[in-house]
Subunit: 144 residues, 2 copies
């Protein structure tokens, strides 16, 4: 692995660590001056470190973040992280992210937020359940 | 970039090309004998080439697939692809995937399917719209 790839992997690991610690100053120090984040599902673009920190500071919940996958390739890094709300009030979520780095800092981030859904019946004959993962599905409405 | 990384990147590019062509024999030839796919959002696991091909053969729609991002790192490859239904009956979707390769074939694939959602109002002061992306959001219900 090239030295830059190794460094970029470490910068992104540090980013998620500082995000999990809600250390916004530490997060901002890892971002390029012209940092841009994009959340394509909601067509939202966050331009600049200050705006990114503001959104995260105001984000409802207190999120413990665990990195589950990292793929690093030159100035590109992809991650899958699990986020658990320390208050217990919100369901856990997964974020899949693509980072672009420049001069050792994160210049661009694109985040995807996949949500649980019910497995459709038409393909059930070719599929088996993943043990434990069904706990991520929202509970069915209580019988009344 | 190491030779194996380059090869793995090409195998995954070829996988999406053959998926887009609905060439199921071509797809199966790129998969390891003990291939496993996982769709964690619905807690579904697809074990084996035959089951994977059957699910894709029966999947509703005819999907043209365009690779938008590739990050390759040794035996790990991450991709973001856009899928458009050639029949025009279904909304375009995005898939984010993590692949693990072994001996030049895909041994494991994890797919995430993020869906559009409305941008929440609380963060609008720090956010700008991404031009064009809002077309992916479902149309609001018609006034009656």
């Amino acid at each position: 692995m090239e030295a830059s790839t190794r460094t970029h992997r470490e910068v992104v690991a540090r980013f998620w660590e500082r995000m999990s610690a809600a250390d916004w100053e530490g997060v901002a120090g890892l971002l390029a001056d012209d940092f841009v984040a994009e959340w394509p599902q909601s067509a939202e673009r966050i331009r600049g470190r200050a705006a990114f920190v503001a959104v995260n500071r105001h984000y409802p919940g207190s999120w413990a973040i665990a990195v589950r996958r990292v793929v690093a390739d030159g100035d590109r890094v992809a991650t899958e992280v699990g986020m658990t709300d320390r208050t217990g009030e919100r369901a856990s979520v997964v974020a899949v992210s693509f980072f672009e780095l420049r001069d050792g800092r994160i210049a661009r981030e694109t985040d995807w937020w996949p949500e649980p859904y019910a497995a459709p019946a038409w393909r059930s004959r070719w599929v088996e359940p993943i043990p434990g993962e069904d706990a991520r599905l929202p509970a069915p409405p209580a019988a009344t």
